[in-house]
Structure formats: structure tokens, C-alpha cells
Symmetry: C2
Subunit: 301 residues, 2 copies
């Protein structure tokens, strides 16, 4: 596999960053998880906009190069990948001095890719079963401490949440996703996913007041639901609200829409709204990435 590091394609084994890169020393970096279908990145504009907002929050937006999309494309092409996972990172780079960021920023841009076949309507999904979700003790940090909307290399809250699942796993029970609450106990998000549930025909999801990272797939799903004129209610919800739901699902770029089988051992499962949204999302991906073009059209995204 070839990766893209600091402007060059390099073999995976030689894809490195300096130990003095601030992305390594402090997690001082923005990233996006991307998914390519048929050679083009799903919702590129939304991902790029969020990446740039994260860099703005970190104070180095001006230094981010313009050709990020081209770098991702080059990396996909070099590995002959059409359906793939990609991770795009932009760090503050190496700077003199210690913690205080310097004004001069020479960012390090890294693109990692991996093949990821598309499931779609007829294929096999990335996930092998609906998600078993477990509430964890680790909380989502409040926005005042860790800006919720910034997707950075400071990802230990998610790591620790997943570690709780690993430590609690038994032969009979292994959760797939950790559910994090805000410090005031509202449902926030999964370690790598947003949460949705259906209650009496209304689609509910934690609002941006709940210290969530607003996911790109979350946003697409909200749009699809509104197009169908489903009542959509972002808000503050408790774990009990979720556990009492008629249907529930998780969203993220790699999972797309993944039904929730259970939360804390209480069964929920899929249903008509989840299934319809999955179908609408699949259709949208097919329309934008596979139909009526060669899969490499610039206009298709």
C-alpha cells in the first residue's frame, strides 16, 4: 500500500512523521475519516469543510493546503482503489519551542487508505450484525474543555470508552459500540458514531448542545428524513429515552446506517424508518457515485 505523507506518495513502511511533529507530541492535528465509492469520496465538501473548521479551532486554518482532495485522489489511484476507507490528517507540523504554538505553520498532511468494499442494497455491509451498544462510564468532555465539533488526534476519550467495552466483554456478551453521555448525563454519541432513535414515528438524535461531533453521515440522514417529511427532533435525551425507543441506529462514514440491536442488554432493533433511511442512503450513494458516469467525475460529489 502507498500512503501520502507531506506531499509525496510513499510505501506504507516508510510512511512516518517526525517525533517532533506536534500531531504526535500533543495530538495537535485535525483529521477526517473518508469513504470512497467508485473512486470518489462520499460527501467530500462536508468533510473538507469540517476539517477546515477543526483547523480554524486549532488556529492554523490559513496554513492548510488547497489540494487536499487531490492528495486523497492520488493515494486512491496509486493503490488502484475505488471502494475504500481513507483517513486524512493535517497536523501543525514541527515547530521550535514547546507547547505554545508558533505563528509559522508548515503542516504535515497524511493520507492513509485501505480497501473497503461497498455493501449497498445487495452486498454485505461493513458490519457483521446490528450494533450491541453499551453505556460506559467515560463521559464526553464538555465543549468548554474540548471543542466538541473539532475532530482531532486527541481521541483518547473514544479509545478509553472502547477499552471499557473490551474489559467488560465475556464469552456471551461483547458490545460493538460504547455509548458516551455528557457530564450532565444526556446521551451524546458513540465512540465513533452518532446515535438516532425512533419514538412514536419521530426521529430523535442528540442535538449539537450535547457536546457531540456532528457527523457527516448524521447530517445526510437528517436531510433524507426531512425530505421524507419525517418529524425530526434533535434534542437532549436520556439513556432511558433511547432504551425505550421503537427503533434505533448508529451512523458514521464507514458503517453508514447500522441498526442498534440492544442498549445495555435491552433489545431495540430495526424497523420501518431505519430500513427506509438505509435504502434512501444506498440510493443516494448509487446515484452520486456509480450511476451514469465512470466513477471519477469531479461533478458527482
Amino acid at each position: 500500500m502507498q500512503y501520502h505523507v507531506d506531499g509525496e506518495l510513499v510505501p506504507e513502511e516508510g510512511a512516518t512523521v517526525s517525533v517532533r511533529d506536534r500531531g504526535f507530541m500533543y495530538g495537535d492535528a485535525a483529521f477526517e475519516t473518508l469513504r470512497a465509492y467508485g473512486g470518489t469520496v462520499f460527501e467530500w465538501a462536508a468533510h473538507e469543510a469540517r476539517l477546515r473548521r477543526t483547523c480554524e479551532t486549532l488556529g492554523f486554518a490559513d496554513a492548510v493546503p488547497d489540494d487536499l482532495r487531490e492528495r486523497v485522489r492520488q493515494t486512491l489511484d496509486a493503490n488502484d482503489l475505488a471502494d475504500a476507507y481513507a483517513r486524512l490528517s493535517v497536523t501543525r507540523g514541527v515547530q521550535p519551542g514547546k507547547l505554545t504554538p508558533g505563528h509559522e505553520v508548515d503542516p504535515t498532511v497524511v493520507v492513509i487508505v485501505k480497501e473497503l468494499p461497498r455493501g449497498g442494497r445487495d452486498g454485505t455491509r461493513v458490519w457483521d450484525r446490528p450494533a450491541v451498544v453499551q453505556t460506559v462510564k467515560t463521559r464526553r468532555a464538555p465543549d468548554a474543555a474540548v471543542p466538541a465539533a473539532a475532530k482531532t488526534h486527541n481521541y483518547l476519550t473514544g479509545v478509553r470508552a472502547r477499552l471499557e467495552l473490551r474489559q467488560a466483554a465475556t464469552d456471551d456478551y461483547r458490545a460493538d459500540e460504547a455509548l458516551l453521555r455528557t457530564t450532565n448525563r444526556y446521551v451524546a454519541e458513540g465512540a465513533t458514531s452518532n446515535v438516532f432513535f425512533v419514538d412514536s414515528g419521530r426521529l430523535k438524535t442528540p442535538s449539537e448542545d450535547c457536546d457531540i461531533l456532528p457527523g457527516v453521515t448524521r447530517s445526510v440522514v437528517l436531510d433524507l428524513a426531512r425530505e421524507e417529511e419525517f418529524p425530526v427532533e434533535p434534542g437532549q435525551y436520556t439513556v432511558d429515552d433511547l432504551r425505550d425507543a421503537d427503533e434505533a441506529f448508529l451512523t458514521n462514514t464507514t458503517w453508514e446506517i447500522r441498526p442498534i440491536a440492544s442498549v445495555d442488554g435491552i433489545e431495540i432493533g430495526t424497523g420501518p424508518m431505519t430500513k427506509l433511511l438505509q435504502r434512501l442512503l444506498d440510493e443516494r450513494i448509487e446515484r452520486d457515485h456509480y450511476d451514469a458516469h465512470d466513477g471519477n467525475s469531479e461533478d458527482s460529489e
Copy 2:
């Protein structure tokens, strides 16, 4: 300069980690900032213990090698450094899969060094003036979200706090250290330092309930104060308590004890207790690192 990476001494330019190292991808790593005096590391045992506790919190303590001290020593020796700053990091290394940590851990150990002459009683301190301290909006994350006692590569809260100072700086006012509060508004710590102040002859400092990283120098200063039978009162304090103090100072490994000139523009300054503690710390460093041995004795730490 030579650094120590993954078991080998390598030239600074070639000191790199894989872009798939979890220390880079997620800040999934522990670190310590060390200071060597006369060739030996100040309070090595305390730093090593904290590093191992951090790795325990991250769930990979068992994988941490035994020869960390030797690696630091080799790095100092290779660069012919006696008085130096060092940064020791242990990451979870490269693993298959994504966010969920795997059981098999091959950690990456990195030692970075830099010359740092000692000031001591007669020399020049590392800092060029008492600290100008400014309260920032960024808050210390609560322990439930980010374990306060773990020193990890997730250091963006400190980065953003320092960025606030940079953004607020004018020709006439430039703060040296950012003061972070807890989410419930008590004084927590500086971006890279612990805070002490003197109020009517009592030495006060935020307690470990205040989501602080309990510093090694903080601990030494508390010991020195107790040996002098000063009343020592760790507790929950407001910024007003600090601003009304008779004396105030910051501690960390590189600054040692740095008096606080002002907080939010309100003057505080040094005084007899701060000066005595500085002298006691200097004496202790001289006793442990320079007197009656060649500066390389294993027993001296």
C-alpha cells in the same frame, strides 16, 4: 542531536514514528517531561511511577519495557548532555484494526533531549521573568471525561489555552502562562504548571479533586513545605482567592519554582515563603545531583 526511538539511537532528522502509530493517530500515548541535572534525572522514580500509572489508565502498562531509565541515560550520553530537558513517550504502537485497542501491544518508546543549563542559586533561571498569568476560557476537562492524573499525548486543552494567550497578546501585555479552571470554576492548573499561593502564612494549592495533573515538582514542594512545618492546604480555590494572595508561584519540571508576577493584570509577586522554597529546592537539587559524586551515580536519585 540524537534521539532514542523504538530501542535505537537515531539522528534527530531520522527520528520518526509510523503514521499508523496510535500515538500519532489518537494521541494514544503516555509521556513525561524530565530534567537532568549533572547527568541524572530529577525525581526519576516519581516520573517513572506516573508514566506507568498513565499507561495503566490507558490499559497497556504490562507492555511498557523495564529499561526506560537506561534509554534516557543513553540519549543523554550520546549527546554529551549533563544538564538537559528530556521528553519520554510510550505509545500503544501500531495495531491492526481501528479505534478499539488490541490486546497485543508493541509500544513505541521515544526519548527527545535538548540542552537546558541549570540556573540554581547563582545562575540564570530558565524563565526570564516572574510569570504573567492570565485566566483563559478553555476549561480543564472533568476527570470523568479525561483522566486528570494521566499525562498523555492528548494535550490540546493546554495548546488551546496557550493559543488564547497568543491571540490576546498586545505590545504591552503578553502572558506567560494560561490559568485553567475546572468546569465548576475552581482554579485547576496552568497549561503546563501547578499553581501555589500564600494566604496569611498558609500555603495553598488546588487539590487533586480539582482535575489537576499532580506534578512531580508540586509534590516535592509540598514535601519541602511540610518539612518546614508550613501549614499546607490543598483545596478548592477560586480565581479571586488566588488574586488576593500575598505570594503566588507556579511549579513544573523545567521552571522549578517560578513566582507569579500577576494574575489577570492584578499584581501578586514573590515573598519570603516562595523564596525559601526556591532555596530549599535548589539545595535539594545540589545535594542529589552535584555534591560528592560525579553526577552519574545511580544512587543519587
